[in-house]
């Protein structure tokens, strides 16, 4: 019987002295293999629906109205204005979605993180692997969105491809602090609140659908302070082929700082949760 051949003499395979977050990433990829078809399909369907309804349908009305005041949208079609806004907003939504339930689930329900920290992986390797996977999901979502938007004729310049990494950065600026928050939760009750208080208001008022200077002054200031405003503005200027200006560098710095602070906070909350 083969059972008799197996040896448990210690030290045959042990010897992982190098520590890398790529090893935890391999788990998330393995897990993703189960759902990638439906996930990728929705990556195509969702932007198609959005750009048809809002960009083409509503956009027709808007363009007819704006005609006289073309400067409001910077002299472009509503579809071209909308597409990069929805790109950044989708990145926010995917960033939030991927850093809430999957993180709490890996702590509370599947214990996937527990299994990892019992191995040579460190808590930071778990966190880095998780965030790297979220970045991958963002890249996939934003990439397919940009392809669909191009098919709709909303993209005019090859430089627009830069909007993809910009949107990924926007998604990470949400994902990192929210992963930190999720690691502190005992139940998922806080997540719908997060959605109602942050995701939906930002989606509506941070410049996705209309320029924020349409808002009353006070609301404008609030809108400009939100991360999504910077994500939308950055993606839009890149998508419209304006290239990197000093304003866009401010957006990058804002989003990068938020992501970095979120990562630092998550390092603490993950440590507190997984290495009590």
């Amino acid at each position: 019987m083969a059972t008799n051949e197996i040896s448990f003499r210690p030290g045959i395979l042990a010897g992982a002295h190098r520590v890398r977050w790529t090893r935890s990433l391999s788990y998330f990829f393995l897990q993703y293999r189960r759902t990638w078809v439906s996930s990728l399909a929705s990556n195509f369907v969702y932007p198609t629906l959005y750009l048809t309804a809002m960009g083409v349908g509503l956009g027709h009305l808007v363009s007819a109205h704006v005609g006289a005041h073309a400067a409001t949208l910077g002299g472009i079609s509503y579809l071209s204005f909308l597409a990069p806004g929805v790109l950044a907003s989708s990145a926010m939504q995917v960033g939030v979605q991927e850093s809430t339930y999957p993180v709490l689930g890996a702590i509370r329900w599947t214990y996937a993180y527990v299994a990892m920290v019992a191995s040579p992986l460190r808590v930071t390797d778990v966190l880095r692997g998780q965030l790297a996977f979220i970045a991958f999901r963002l890249l996939l979502t934003c990439g397919t969105f940009t392809l669909v938007a191009t098919a709709f004729g909303a993209i005019h310049s090859p430089e627009a491809v830069l909007a993809v990494p910009a949107a990924v950065l926007c998604g990470l600026a949400f994902a990192a602090p929210i992963a930190a928050f999720a690691a502190k939760q005992d139940y998922d009750g806080g997540f719908p609140v997060l959605n109602r208080l942050i995701v939906i208001p930002l989606f509506l008022f941070s410049g996705t659908f209309f320029p924020v200077h349409q808002l009353p002054t006070v609301l404008q200031w609030i809108a400009v302070a939100t991360p999504l405003y910077h994500g939308v503005a950055l993606s839009r200027s890149l998508a419209l082929g304006h290239g990197l200006t000093w304003v866009s560098l401010v957006h990058v710095a804002y989003l990068g700082t938020l992501a970095a602070l979120g990562y630092a906070w998550a390092t603490r909350t993950f440590q507190a949760r997984l290495a009590k």
Binding site: F8, P10, Y27, R34, T110, V114, A115, S119
Partner: protein
Amino acid sequence: MQTADDAVVVARGLVKRFGDFVAVDGIDVEIHRGEVFGFLGPNGAGKTSTMRMIACMSPKSEGYLRVRGLDPEHDGSLIRAGLGVVPQEDALDGELTVLENLVVYGRYFDIPKKDARLRAEQLLEFAQLSDRAKTKVEELSGGMKRRLTLARALISSPEIVILDEPTTGLDPQARHLVWERLYRLKRDGVTLILTTHYMDEAEQLCDRLVVMDHGSIVANGPPRSLIEEHVSKEVVEIRLPEENYEQLTLDLGDRVERTEMLADRFCCYTDEGESLLSYVKSLGYAPISELVRRASLEDVFLLLTGRSLVE
């Protein structure tokens, strides 16, 4: 610090605090290569906290701790490379297959995929799960999941395997299968550290054990010598009409080491069970039921940690 050369775990004055709560209150433990070492104790005694510190999954609050000769504070990752952990909650991914669970775990140890796969297949044979390799884990029974968790802990050929309640919730057949597999590991020189609620399990498996209560070690030694040290060789359990118990205690006097009155029976701890029972009968008592048995680890456990429920 003077320790045996083959000590794989050395703890001195080890403390674990959670806020104001002291879970582990300054324990001394030394575990040697190749032995099966048990942590026993009621819920909340500090067993799991101790195990987590040894597994380098939880930082100590105070004291001295070395595992595989290294300091968990600085070399946690390196130490864990030589450990296999069977956590209380299996921590298996229910939606992945049995084989996938093993292979991906091998990745965490940086074992090349081909080697991990080969090792996984051998381990499935060992855990009697070969025919389930492609089954999703959520479809497995509790006993199978436990065996899979044990197999997973062995993927890197660890020096020490740490098992937190390895057989809790399993039926007798499944428990015996796990025990038999643990003997195999011991035979190959693996050090096993386990916690358990089952005294028969501890008596069967452990070379040495400690009994913990309220974060401290209250007894320490091989199971048989703990029994000899703390209780008599035999126990006589008798049931009498309740009003007789008090008189019987007086009548027995010094003939027994200790008596204990429980709700449904009267226990006498003695080295000569049969002769004590004859003596009781010769005094004119007519027990409703009677039993003479060997004292067990359970008697030691209840004596040291009390009979009141810990919840």
